[in-house]
């Protein structure tokens, strides 16, 4: 290797994968590293040029020289590894985005409304989430008569429900069972999470 650069092929890709790893360890979505991705893509083009010129040089000399073959192998290995790392980085981010999407029960607008979070996504990732949401909505639609498949699956229901009596009219509230118009004197069996704030505000009372 004639390169005077102390950096080796693949170092940048390693950095990229380390970012994915850090993201997993800290359980956060790091900002999309556009600069690094672009630099690696440039390295890929550079490697491709090196391969092409090595092949051209070889064609000139007609016979396979002992120095060219290892060089070709090296370039090719670097290219494949870089590409893997690039794709792994993007795939890992998609997984994280999907996790966040499901953690919010499939509420995409709420996810995208978080400006701080959104600034860490690439525009393509926002597009991905939108289209993913469309596909999941289709999937959810198949079960919508019975249940919402996007609701939580982390804890089995134990104390999920509270039997409440309406003390003061508080209008129409969205719950897992659909919209409920809470009118004074009625009783409801509702998800505690849906109406917790209403108990606190004194609209409902647990029976």
């Amino acid at each position: 290797m004639a390169s005077s650069d102390s950096r080796q092929y693949g170092d940048l890709a390693t950095q990229l994968v380390q970012e994915s790893r850090r993201s997993t360890l800290t359980d956060t979505l790091l900002k999309y590293n556009d600069t690094l991705v672009r630099t690696i893509i440039r390295e890929q083009r550079n490697l491709e040029d090196l391969i092409n010129s090595a092949i051209a040089a070889q064609a000139d000399s007609a016979a396979l020289t002992t120095t060219d073959a290892p060089a070709l192998l090296l370039y090719q290995t670097a290219i494949l590894r870089n590409k893997r790392c690039l794709l792994a980085y993007h795939a890992h981010r998609l997984d994280r985005l999907k996790d966040m999407y499901w953690a919010l029960g499939g509420a995409l607008p709420a996810l995208l409304a978080d400006n701080e979070l959104r600034s860490r996504m690439s525009p393509h990732e926002v597009d991905f989430l939108r289209e993913y949401n469309t596909s999941i909505m289709d999937f959810r639609g198949d079960f919508s008569a019975e249940l919402d498949i996007a609701a939580s699956i982390t804890h089995p229901p134990r104390d999920l429900h509270a039997l409440v009596r309406v003390v003061r009219d508080c209008g129409v509230i969205e719950t897992e069972l659909g919209t409920i118009d809470f009118r004074k004197g009625q009783r409801f069996m509702v998800r505690r999470a849906d109406i917790e704030h209403l108990i606190v505000q004194g609209y409902l009372e647990e029976v």
Binding site: K83, A91, W102, E131, D138, E146
Partner: protein, 240 residues
Amino acid sequence: MPPRRTLLDDDEDFPMAGALTRAAAAAPDPITLDFGAPPETLFQQLVRHWLNERHAPDILPVQAEVLGALLDHIRRQTDTVQALRGDPDSSEAEHVRIMLVQTEVERVKFVVRSYIRTRLYKIEKFARYVVATPEVQEKLSQTELDHAKRFSQLTENHFRVSVLQALPPHQQGLDDNTPFTPPMASEPDKSHAVIVHAREECPPVRLPDGTTMQMQKGQIVLTPYAVVEQLLAVGNVELI
């Protein structure tokens, strides 16, 4: 004999020794010994398939019938509960009963949801493999298959616009097949270890080292998934 059998079926406290001789007299088939065990309810079946699905590295065949029947049941129960709850004359005791039914419905829903989501997770993980493999597609419901296709397309597009289209033409493929590296589309790892509980006496299976293993009813073993794949499909065993 038939009226006698009916009587036996209902009598759960029948002494074991007596049951043994009687059952043996009625039929030599040892399966008759199980006459005391009630058949699995729909929900128990789903719980079994749910656990299997959660523990298996591969996508298992969708339990469309069990799922469909349970979803119908959930809908009927929810409607009934809705009607009763809307009735202002419902007494306190009825409210308690409604609560019990609803809690149960929620528990069933939880399992259904988890079952569907477990499958969804695997389907997305192996989306490219699913799309490329017709045998796997048969294990999916139409809804799942549609999603798998869309998802596979979606990720491919994302990779293309984010990375691949900027690379030289030679490097743009998504299915590089190079020696010494794993394939680019993830596939289920069937050598994954699973803990298996035999629900009944199983036909012998061949282990990776060439020997055979025969599980007795109730036996629990740790084995690669591939070994018990067939037994699981038939229902001889369950994963725990």
